[in-house]
Symmetry: C2
Subunit: 244 residues, 2 copies
């Protein structure tokens, strides 16, 4: 739980924007006004605002002010945002999810696995195959590779609950950074079977591959998530350099 002042201000402003206390296209109070309001330095206010810019909530305009450009949207489908587990995503999307473990083995990275995942040859790994359900529909087929050295004691039981919860709360591994690549791939028979798809309808999947790093800068996870295309949605906000 971050209790930094800039983070509290950031979250307070974010809430006010989401609750439309600031209207769309309206200017937020000036930085100096917010300094008075929150009793802090201007730097701290600016840091909170920079985070809102990165989220695509506001737009700063030199000489004019900070404009609210947040539009509440009907997110019909399952939306992927920053770094979060399936559980957290399910909660944020107000859905009930559960996870079935299809396979749980230990293995050593050979040349082929190394090339695919980015782990060095010889790394001791857990390989886990899981199916994520949302509202009783199988949506995501997940292939996880975890570095045993960083994630000792992982079990199929834990994998059926939340691996991230185990990592953060029991092992105190902190997830910091995640590099993701999104592509579209042909559906395999395995995908078809587990995701309950008809290849005549869709014959492709949305595939998200990610490498995740812990607070020591060690890559400890490689995951390939294969998503049902009709429930996949990825959101992003790009900002031209200069503001952050």
């Amino acid at each position: 739980m971050p209790k930094a002042k800039y983070d509290q201000i950031y979250r307070d402003l974010k809430r006010k924007i989401e609750e439309e206390i600031f209207a769309y296209q309206e200017l937020l109070p000036s930085e100096n006004t917010l300094v008075e309001e929150y009793q802090c330095s201007r730097n701290t206010i600016r840091r909170a605002i920079a985070s809102l810019v990165r989220d695509g909530y506001v737009q700063t305009m030199q000489g004019k002010g900070v404009r609210n450009i947040f539009q509440p949207l009907e997110q019909a489908s399952f939306t992927i945002g920053g770094i979060e587990s399936f559980r957290e995503s399910a909660q944020r999307n107000h859905k009930k999810g559960y996870t079935k473990v299809l396979c749980f083995v230990e293995l050593t990275a050979d040349e082929k696995i190394s090339h695919r995942t980015g782990f060095p040859v010889g790394s001791e790994l857990y390989y886990i195959q899981r199916l994520h359900y949302l509202d009783d529909k199988p949506l995501i087929l997940n292939h996880n590779y975890f570095l045993k050295e960083v994630t000792p004691g992982l079990t199929a039981e834990i994998a059926s609950q939340s691996i991230y919860e185990y990592l953060e709360h029991t092992l105190h591994v902190t997830i910091v950074n995640s590099k993701r690549t999104m592509t579209v791939e042909k559906m395999t028979e395995i995908d078809e079977k587990y995701l309950d798809m008809d290849a005549l309808e869709y014959n492709c999947l949305a595939v998200v591959s990610s490498q995740t790093f812990d607070s020591n800068g060690i890559m400890f996870e490689y995951t390939q998530s294969r998503h049902r295309p009709d429930y996949f949605r990825f959101q992003d906000n790009a900002v031209r350099r200069g503001t952050i």
Copy 2:
């Protein structure tokens, strides 16, 4: 051209990382060392480093240092990054691209268009349909909607070159923010025809929808880009809150 000091330092460090002057997993010089080296304040150094973190180039570790986690990758296919035009992307990926204009009309947003694009009903728009080729292969079918008020004088001729170049250099519109959504959609007959696809192979497309804002916080562009799945690749870096 940003000539801010923090931006120069950011780009210099980025270059050194890309050229592997700092090795993978190596620690960068400490902030205080960089303060000496670049003759600036610690805040300025920290700002440059924060940008590198956001790019997924480095990882900061309190009490330890800043670790280089950049891995040069073989980007076999066309990669999408931040905000950039097709032309810029083509150059970055070292490919030759050209653009064919399929349709160029002016229209007024009705209820349906408004709902799809986010423009208010009654907005005067340019609607442009374009096909982007890379190495003589049609890769992207683009549907653009531009707000006439912000982008006056747009022509089919300009659209066949670079609309963004016209906007930035002639109209001096500065693109600041872009909200994007990625989904996978069924291929239509139009897609199939123009993108030269065989629906028996792939029957889906990667679809990127984006709303783009100018420096006044006005949404002036809505674009839907329909990508050939076999050449589509989107990269992203997610960071847990706290660093930025």
